[in-house]
Amino acid sequence: MPTPPTDPSPAPAAAKAPAIEARGLTKTFSDPRRGEVRALVGLDLECHFGEIYGLLGPNGAGKTTTLRILATILAPSAGTARVAGADVAREPLEVRRRIGFLSTGTGLYPRLTARETLRYFGGLHGIEPEALEARIEELIDTFDLRQIADGRCESFSTGQRQRVSIARAVLHDPPVLILDEPTTGLDVLASSAMIAFVESRRQAGTCVLFSTHTLSEAERLCDRIGVIDRGTLLAAGTYEELSARTGREWLDEIFLALVEQAGVDGRDGREEARA
């Protein structure tokens, strides 16, 4: 996949400040059948511009909840989070203007064409009509969408949908990209194209936070990795740092060691509390 052109201007507000900063992020859901469900328990997170940060964890660990809070889809029950300088609780609209969000489902409106989709999002981002049309043409060329630009999204293949979805996410050239398991369900070609795209954003100075449970992907792409389990960030650092901390060489071993350690600590903590 070709590298999309980027806006060379610096990221808004605080280029030196973290692109994403979460402190004590907590999320509880009220479920009539299960009672109170704690999806996140005081999660701390820090990502920087020009950095690819991988959030690694098993299913149900809280990865998607974290990303959804950062993207303002969900409101945090407690704690704070800032994305590109905007507070997710107090300035959610500003956060949405500064992020690009991608998920496996792509979430494209099936009855709109690729061009209409880009025009709709561009219009809502307040891009002037002339500039928007130029940008759409640019993205159509960049992501090789010329053949399908005027076709309805419902008729696209998975790979084509993913390309349109990426074009939509970077249309306004956001300083922060949040990707929720972007390669799940993709074939090898589409998956490697997605990985190439993520790598390309590093050079553009974009902060990319993505969740995955594919260890090889995290190993290959991430500048730093955060391991999350049961709503808590167990550890965060570069691959080398995590390896040194656990004494394991391979990421799957590192991951398992951290999760097991957390389990032991959790049990000890509970026993201490009972004592």
């Binding site: 806006d7 009220s30 479920d31 009539p32 059948r33 993207a71 303002t72 889809i73 969900l74 409101a75 029950s77 959610p92 609209l93 949405r96 203007r97 992020i99 969000f101 998920s103 489902g105 979430g107 494209l108 409106y109 099936p110 009855r111 709109l112 209409e116 709709y120 999002f121 219009g123 809502l124 981002h125 307040g126 891009i127 002037e128 500039a131 940008r135 309805r152 249309l171 306004h172 050239d173």
Partner: protein, 439 residues
Amino acid sequence: MSGRPPSTWSATWRVAQKELRSGLRDRQTAIYTVVLPLFLYPALFWCTIQGFLFLEGRREHTAVTVGVAAEAPGLEPAGLSAALEGRARPADPPPDLARVTVVPLGTGVAPGEAGEWMRAGRALRPDALLHLSDPRGAGAEEPARLYYDSTESASNLARERLEPRLDAFAETLREEAATARGRDPRELVPFETDERNVAREVDMGAYVLSFLLPILLVLMSVMGAFFPAVDVTAGERERGTAETTMLLPVPRLAIHQGKIVAVCCSSLIATTLNLLALGLSAGHLLNMLALGSEVRIELPLAALISVAPLALLFSFAVSAVLTGIAALAQSFKEGQALLGPVQLVFIVPAMAAAIPGLDLTPGTALVPVVNVALAFRTMIRGEALPLEYALTALSLLLFAVVSIAVSVRVLSREAVQTGGEGVWPTRVLALIFSPGSSR
């Protein structure tokens, strides 16, 4: 890359445009919003009238029999059979339509026997029986009595045909008797009542339409909003685009308002197309039905234009209510099931327009749904009730504003936006008890 973000109203309109475009590209929504109002309902209307005319034609072609029985010989006046059969003179052939065949049942039949004859249901029983009593006999109250069975359509039809013919025959006998005695026949009727309808043909037509169109207005508003309301809420969740919509860089208020506006536009499109199609065809079709009577159907253009602002407010309220409720559903199918009974909340009160004696008053003008139906009925009849119309508009405006506010509040709840497992009553509970709302 981002420029100046659009205002909430501008964003609302952009969202509405997108939802409307997307909705009209959905086959099911397009059928219910455009195709059905434009073609099916007028077609159904036409079929109903054709069916009515067909049944009426069959009725006219149905022959019935009347038995004539007399208590004593010589009681049957000359020309009675011809008169009952609808022949002007005894030598004339019977008419092709509304045929009655007279079956002589003989003489010596007592009145009680005649009644028993009809009740017993003998094999040779006629559809009706005319019994001629002996005026000199004991207990005779009237010279002729018509027996029929009200539980049988042929017997009812025989009665309907025979009554006017018997009246006309009695009148002829009176006139002949008076003339034979050298008297003016009019002297025999010292007091006669004549009925005259002073309503113009057009007014009569408006009266007929005033019962039909208000119900259609409400019905089409609800039907037109039904599928779009499900499509923009539960449908969106089912398509997996709800998250994308929540990530739009505009206030959530604009998104929810945009959805309601799109649903309202669909409702108005359906209503306008339906009234237009019916208006163009109803005159012709209803005139076919009322042919020969004193009714002339004309499209009440002034009333249609006058009712437009009220219809707009009503559509907004309907759209907000349906959208808010459909948002509680997880899938399109569940949304349809949920809105089915809700439709009745609007449609049943609209029947008020067909209740004789229930008029638009300052009191009824304050009752949503009932007021728009009654106001439209009053407008079609050409009555000017400025106070009642103003109160109707005010009531509908309040209803629309409250409905939109509540609907936006429901749509804004995180529990509704993110959905969840379980049936919708569970989600309603979750909605009530869930803290805060998304922004």
